[in-house]
């Protein structure tokens, strides 16, 4: 092969990959109830009223809103979030409810939507063995398997139901891990959040199935602000999955969510995300701004929290699923594959705050950048002076698939005592030509070889995903990567 043929072929293949279609980009023709654009105290009150919330929650929202007014949009990320006009967004959109007297069945259009997404909303799809909560725009539309879970005492419902049915639990935990003062987007979410999922696993219960939430933005010119709260009591275990998609639109839409997780003594929570919001077209037009605050508190001794994420969507991703390791011998894990293509920008990573003695954490982050995208890992490992005997291992690798993309790592390490060990390793390179040549020699075309190598590269993280998600995630990677480099 001639020297100059390679880059040409590479460009061509990248172009093809860039044109690979976003298959979740359809819009569902469904009646939606949207409140007018704009944000002020009345809007916050109206959202609260629409959801029939108690006084304390309205108070919480108003406090958050007033605090939000004092904050400025952060600019420190390695992403270009334009000045967002927060008055030009509608803060509440919900599939319109059927009037009384109509069958209490799920809207067939809505069902079609989730069928298209491959999400088993109906219980006859029992084979998949997954309990699902589906959130369309801002509102939870259907939660499956609730009865079976209820037998074990597991609560899995939408946040608005939880506020009504379990107000004490919600009040006890809401905003305790991510207070509304945390950051700009957390304050905004706390003021206007419309729904989300609530999970409570009682003491000693091992949740028998994967719990799953699918988020979908459908309506135009709306933002999605959901809030997820997961509490695992002593000795409990739960594996929770989250998936996201959105229609293709020319405008940018805002998604500012909060996830809070509390893990008590000896409990374990596994949180997996396959994030596939619409990333914008190949010229960088449209796409979701995914500005999310996710944090877990390992409050109990020997507790464990594991974040696994596959990030392939969104025009801009700004999220740092973190662990506060407060309990002694607690464990935090973060496994991430972030793939950016075209003009996508991702600034993602994690924080591991070690407060408990002998707490351990592992971070494995794999970035893949193609097209004109920018992909950053930003992380922090902090060992408090009293957290003796802690251990952290961090590895963040970046793979560059085009000469116009960028890969960056910004880790911060702070160690406050002499009995803890922290390690950080990072590499950046392109796919080794020798490896491709080796595959070529054995009759594997370059496209397939790249697929093989990238899949191998991401395998460490993929292996951490639950089965159902691993298959989906692998498919997602292959759509975006179909022969990305020559």
């Amino acid at each position: 092969m001639k020297e100059n043929e390679k880059p040409e072929k590479g460009n061509q293949i990248i172009e093809e990959a860039a044109q690979a279609e976003y298959k979740y980009g359809f819009v569902t023709d469904i009646e939606t109830e949207v409140i007018p654009k704009g944000l002020d105290e009345d809007v916050v009150r109206r959202i609260s009223a629409l959801k029939g919330e108690p006084e304390w929650l309205l108070e919480f929202r108003l406090k958050a809103y007033r605090h939000w007014l004092t904050l400025k949009q952060p600019t420190w990320g390695h992403v270009h979030v334009p000045e967002i006009d927060y008055q030009d967004i509608s803060y509440y959109a919900a599939p319109r409810k059927k009037k009384d007297g109509e069958k209490k069945e799920i809207d067939p259009e809505l069902k079609k939507t989730f069928d298209k997404l491959g999400i088993p909303l109906e219980e006859q799809l029992r084979l998949s063995g997954m309990a699902v909560d589906a959130v369309m725009d801002s509102v939870s539309v259907k939660t499956t398997y609730r009865e079976r879970l209820a037998e074990l005492g597991v609560i899995f419902c939408s946040m608005s139901e939880a506020v009504k049915d379990y107000p004490d639990l919600v009040r006890k935990y809401l905003g305790k891990v991510v207070p509304y003062t945390d950051n700009f987007y957390a304050a905004l979410n706390s003021a206007v959040f419309s729904d989300g999922s609530f999970v409570y696993i009682p003491k000693g219960v091992r949740c028998p199935m994967e719990l799953s939430t699918y988020f979908r933005i459908n309506a135009a010119q709306t933002g999605q602000f959901e809030r997820t709260l997961i509490v695992a009591d002593d000795d409990a275990y739960v594996s929770y999955l989250e998936g996201c998609t959105a229609p293709m639109r020319d405008e940018n839409q805002l998604h500012a969510a909060i996830v809070e997780i509390i893990v008590e003594d000896r409990a374990e929570v596994k949180y997996s995300t396959v994030q596939n919001w619409y990333p914008g077209d190949k010229d960088g037009k449209g796409g979701i701004y995914n500005l999310v605050t996710k944090r877990g508190l390992c409050r109990g001794d020997h507790s464990k929290l594991s974040w696994t994420q596959v990030e392939t969507g969104s025009a801009i991703t700004w999220k740092y699923p973190s662990c506060v390791l407060k309990g002694d011998y607690s464990t935090g894990e973060f496994y991430s594959v972030a793939l950016t293509n075209n003009w996508q920008e991702a600034d993602t990573g994690t924080k591991m705050i070690h407060l408990g003695k002998h707490s351990t954490s592992t971070i494995v982050s794999k970035g893949i950048s193609a097209g004109h995208s920018q992909n950053s890992y930003r992380g922090m490992v902090k060992i408090a002076p009293k957290a003796t005997g802690c251990r952290n291992f961090t590895q963040c690798d970046s793979l560059l698939l085009s000469d116009t993309s960028g890969a960056h790592t910004f880790p911060v390490i702070e160690v406050g005592n002499d009995t803890s060990v922290v390690e950080h390793e990072a590499t950046t390179s392109k796919i080794n030509e020798d490896q491709i040549f080796y595959c070529n020699q054995r009759g594997i075309p370059t496209e397939d070889a790249v697929g093989l190598i990238v899949n191998g590269y991401a395998k460490e993280v993929m292996a951490k995903l639950p089965m159902e998600f691993a298959v989906e995630a692998q498919k997602l990677l292959s759509v975006s990567l179909e022969g990305s480099v020559g």
Partner: protein, 451 residues
């Protein structure tokens, strides 16, 4: 509080005096520096790239500034013997910020020029005009402060094709009976295919006073040149330093900078390297041995602006007692710079429960065909290795010392002068043994007893 204000006020008050006592060239930057300082603030703890370091607090102290350029009586050559055994060097002294050449050194060795700015402005005006202040960024407030108040400096110039026969050694001494701040300034220009090795060491003669050295070093490495710059700090717990080294590398140049901190108070080292030519090589090495209340913060930035260049960084810290170490390094590879290889390493030993280490290694890459990596680790001595040595009859303290020496050895082994390497191994050994100030021979007393 704005610590810079006192210095701006001082400049406004004594502007005529400062300008009279300086070569005209140095006055050209002052106004611009003042403008920059007007709106600038010194970074406080927690600012980006200053996670552990409060520059505002360091500069807030009321230091004396020798604007009148009063001479200091003592001849540093008499009291300081910083010669390296088995190595013949051309020795120069700076006492506070005034430069002396020792009795044994000629001003120009062969064709190599080593001159204070006051002379260089007359002898080599074209060189000074072309390079003074070209690299040093006034956006950095400490560099702007240096440019505002600096009154002299030292030029080291190696003309094209000349290889300096002997290493040039620069001994910087603080010696004043009051708290004092100096603005040291160094301009190193090495011509095409020329080479030079420079050793600099910082000492303090009177340990009872607070000193602050706000120094700026500009290094220009022309095509095919080779520069070794060894910079050792061995002062006192009351001597503080903010050092900013700016490097401009042309095609095929090879630059090694090795910063060693053995004894100090507060130190911030900034390394800013612009690699502008293909096949250029950069090595940044750093070693810190800190105990007591020592504070050492290194910040490196290597910008690869050309294809096929190569850089390597390794910084090692050994922290004991309440020492604080910080390292932040960034490797930038700009777009259209294929085949760049850049490696960065930071390894740290925390030897006491109250020692703190902050580290932030960063990569920013805009080209795909590169090999870049960084690694960072904070930990302790290997218990198995300690146990192994103890089973062979080596006491715990001795075993620790040996392991710590081995830990920093590869930074010393990067030194490209054998005699200096031996000397550094010796100094580090003494530093770990805590006997650095026990030997006789000179005021600083870091000279081996029987050598």
């Amino acid at each position: 509080m704005n610590a810079l204000k006192q210095y701006i006020d001082l400049y406004d008050e004594c502007r005529t005096l400062i300008e009279q006592q300086s070569p005209a060239l140095l006055n050209t930057l002052r106004e611009h520096a003042r403008e920059k300082l007007e709106t600038a603030r010194l970074p406080r703890k927690g600012c980006e790239d200053y996670e552990a370091t409060d520059l505002e607090a360091v500069f807030a102290h009321d230091y004396g500034v020798n604007i009148n350029r009063l001479p200091f009586d003592a001849d540093p050559g008499e009291t300081f013997h910083c010669d390296v055994p088995n190595m013949s060097t051309c020795l120069y002294y700076s006492s506070n910020d005034a430069f002396h050449s020792s009795a044994t050194a000629e001003r120009n060795i062969g064709q190599v020029v080593v001159e204070p700015f006051s002379m260089a402005a007359v002898d080599h005006p074209e060189l000074m005009n072309a390079h003074y202040g070209r690299l040093a960024s006034l956006d950095n407030p400490t560099t702007a402060l240096n440019s505002l108040l600096v009154q002299d400096g030292l030029l080291i110039y190696v003309p094209d094709g000349v290889a300096a026969e002997r290493p040039i050694q620069l001994v910087n001494i603080f010696n004043a009976a009051l708290d004092m701040m100096v603005q040291r300034r160094l301009l190193i220009v090495v011509g095409k295919n020329a080479s030079v090795k420079i050793l600099a060491c910082d000492h303090t003669q009177s340990p009872d006073y607070n000193y602050l050295n706000n120094q700026v070093i500009e290094i220009v490495a022309m095509q095919g040149s080779t520069i070794d710059f060894y910079d050792m700090e061995e002062s006192t717990p009351k001597t503080h330093r903010v050092s900013s080294i700016y490097v401009d590398q042309h095609e095929g140049s090879n630059v090694l900078i090795d910063g060693i901190t053995l004894v100090n108070g507060f130190t911030r080292n900034n390394y800013h390297v612009e690699v502008n030519g293909e096949h250029a090589e950069t090595q940044l090495l750093g070693m810190t041995i800190a105990s007591g209340e020592q504070h050492v913060d290194s910040h490196t930035f290597i910008s690869h602006n050309a294809p096929r260049c190569h850089s390597n960084e390794m910084f090692k810290y050994v922290l004991n007692d309440n020492a604080v170490g910080a390292f932040a390094g960034k490797i930038l590879v700009k777009s259209n710079c294929p085949r760049v290889e850049a490696y960065q390493g930071n390894r740290n030993l925390c030897g006491s429960p109250t020692a703190k280490m902050y580290t932030k290694p960063q990569l920013e890459i805009y080209t795909d065909d590169v090999m870049c990596s960084h690694g960072s680790a904070v930990g302790q001595l290997d218990e198995d290795a300690l146990f192994y040595m103890r089973t062979r009859g080596i006491g715990i303290d001795e075993a620790r010392r040996l392991l710590m020496q081995a830990f920093v050895a590869d930074v010393i082994d990067g030194v490209r002068l054998d005699a200096l390497k031996d000397r550094l191994h010796y100094l580090v050994e003494k530093r770990f043994a805590g006997t650095l100030s026990n030997c006789a021979g000179c005021m600083q007393a870091c000279r081996p007893n029987n050598k």
